[in-house]
Symmetry: C2
Subunit: 310 residues, 2 copies
């Protein structure tokens, strides 16, 4: 297929039409913007195939229902839209986002029940929170200036753009010479970072926070792969003190997969190298992207393989 | 001045150009949308004059600094833009919003320090959270399903679009047959409602929450007017139990001024009529909108007076 160069940087679906990213705009009156009243999901395309597309659609549509949002397209139509964005852009490694907003306020109305909900989507080149070439891993701090928004204020399992707490943590990280921030909840337990779940190897067991976090699809994949690998794994509470005893730490996200965290609060995690459990799971994570039950193929697999190999 | 009918519903300032509201769109990649990374302010125009414009500009620019946002226009230019929106739209009673966002992410970057911040503004016909004709006042509930986002997660004094907790409360209110929701903090004290501060007359004193809320300009105006009127007033903690003993309740917002709350959790507040303190302050609030130190006149005062009189 020959791609129109206008879609080199990606393609978006706005108001029922496919447009170039540069033309992808939403109404300033959409309460998805002015009230951050929305949910979204991000699915990846790897070597021409979506990864766990149906799981992402499940979560997205469940979260729409939880917010009483009715997307103007059904599941089959949304799947078609996402596939179409990859076909038109030709992006073989892509970050694909779908968003359902409450929609524009009409004449300043404040009654969200009366708004027409909107659906937007876009596909851009794959996003790495940590570039895979960065062998040394991420340098994180435990944020002191910001606590994660509690679940009884904003439910973190309904994927949302309420990121001011995470963004504040990120600025603190930069100020402290690091590049990532892990946020604690109001009880002092680990939650998540800006756009990722966190795993820790503590006393030879793999742990990740059970509650107060997004139930990430990458997180779920890692929990499944760890079980398959016979690694003892628990979703549980992780206190700040526990976190400081970790011998391995990594982040998981659709935007980058498994990303080692090798420094915490200015000190190396164990010897500061990427640990064995992290390496094994990262390798398995990318291996299961090949054709199989998780793949929804759109473009032919490249004879040169995916854009990056682990 | 003859107005172009394209601006009847208002005018917006986007990327340095004045456009009709229907054309007012922002990039879907702006992290003001995808991370709700922004601050904003709303100022009103009444009978052709801005009300407390310089106070709103003070707060807006202070909040930009607190989030490390640099609007692409200075204070004088922003003032000019806002005045220009009223001139071009001819809106004599208007709701005027200014927004500074972190700006679009470039190539999926997650480093907000590298983004070019954006400024948007729009002027639409004046918004009433409670239509002034609704003499009976608002019917509010104390939300049970949602707690206000705490200040150590997202600072409520930096005006923001993190409204999921407020929106959830609003849906609860509708489910319970009411139309407004008052949110408590995690200690069980009153905070605010969707877009407004709250005042209560309790034991003959006028009270409003001291912390954990937006420091509203209308709130400040009411505190000043109450002092001028010799009404004993305190910014203090208000527990849920205290709130239930209130003999008057009202909301304050740039979108509607002083709005009586005459029912709480299905029961009338006192006798369910708009109380004396509320009436007096509402009248004074609108009276000080006439030319004076708070007014920045743009359009000539109408011989018929403003759009609504109290």
């Amino acid at each position: 297929m020959t791609q129109d160069p206008v879609f080199t940087n990606g393609a978006a679906f706005i108001d029922g039409e496919v447009v170039a990213m540069i033309d992808a705009r939403i109404p300033i009156t959409d309460t998805g913007f002015t009230r951050s009243d929305l949910t979204y999901d991000v699915v990846s395309v790897w070597d021409g195939a979506f990864f766990r597309l149906e799981d992402h659609l499940d979560r997205f549509l469940r979260n729409c229902r939880r917010l009483r949002l009715t997307p103007p397209h059904d599941r089959d139509e949304i799947r078609e839209v996402l596939i179409g964005l990859i076909e038109v852009s030709g992006l073989r490694e892509s970050y694909v986002e779908m968003i359902c907003t409450r929609g524009p306020s009409v004449n300043g109305s404040r009654d969200p029940r009366t708004f027409v909900n909107c659906f937007y989507a876009f596909a851009i080149p794959y996003v790495w929170i940590l570039e895979p070439e960065t062998a040394e891993g991420m340098d994180a701090v435990i944020a002191k200036t910001s606590r994660r928004i509690p679940a009884d204020s904003v439910d973190p399992t309904v994927k949302n753009f309420h990121w001011a707490d995470l963004t504040k943590g990120l600025f603190e990280a930069y100020d402290r010479g690091a590049d990532q921030a892990l946020l604690l909840d109001h009880q002092g337990n680990l939650t998540e970072g800006p756009g990722y779940n966190v795993f820790a190897v503590i006393a030879s067991r793999l742990l990740t926070p059970a509650t107060g976090v997004l139930e990430g699809i990458t997180r779920r994949t890692i929990l499944e792969l760890a079980e398959e690998q016979g690694i003892e794994t628990w979703a549980t509470e992780i206190s700040e003190a526990d976190l400081r005893t970790a011998t391995e730490l990594f982040a998981t996200s659709t935007a980058g997969g498994v990303m080692p965290i090798t420094r915490l609060d200015g000190r190396p995690v164990a010897d500061g190298q990427v640990g064995g459990v992290t390496k094994r799971l990262r390798q398995r994570y990318w291996a299961v992207h090949a054709d199989g039950p998780f793949a929804t193929r759109v473009l032919p697999s490249s004879p040169h393989g995916p854009g990056h190999r682990f």
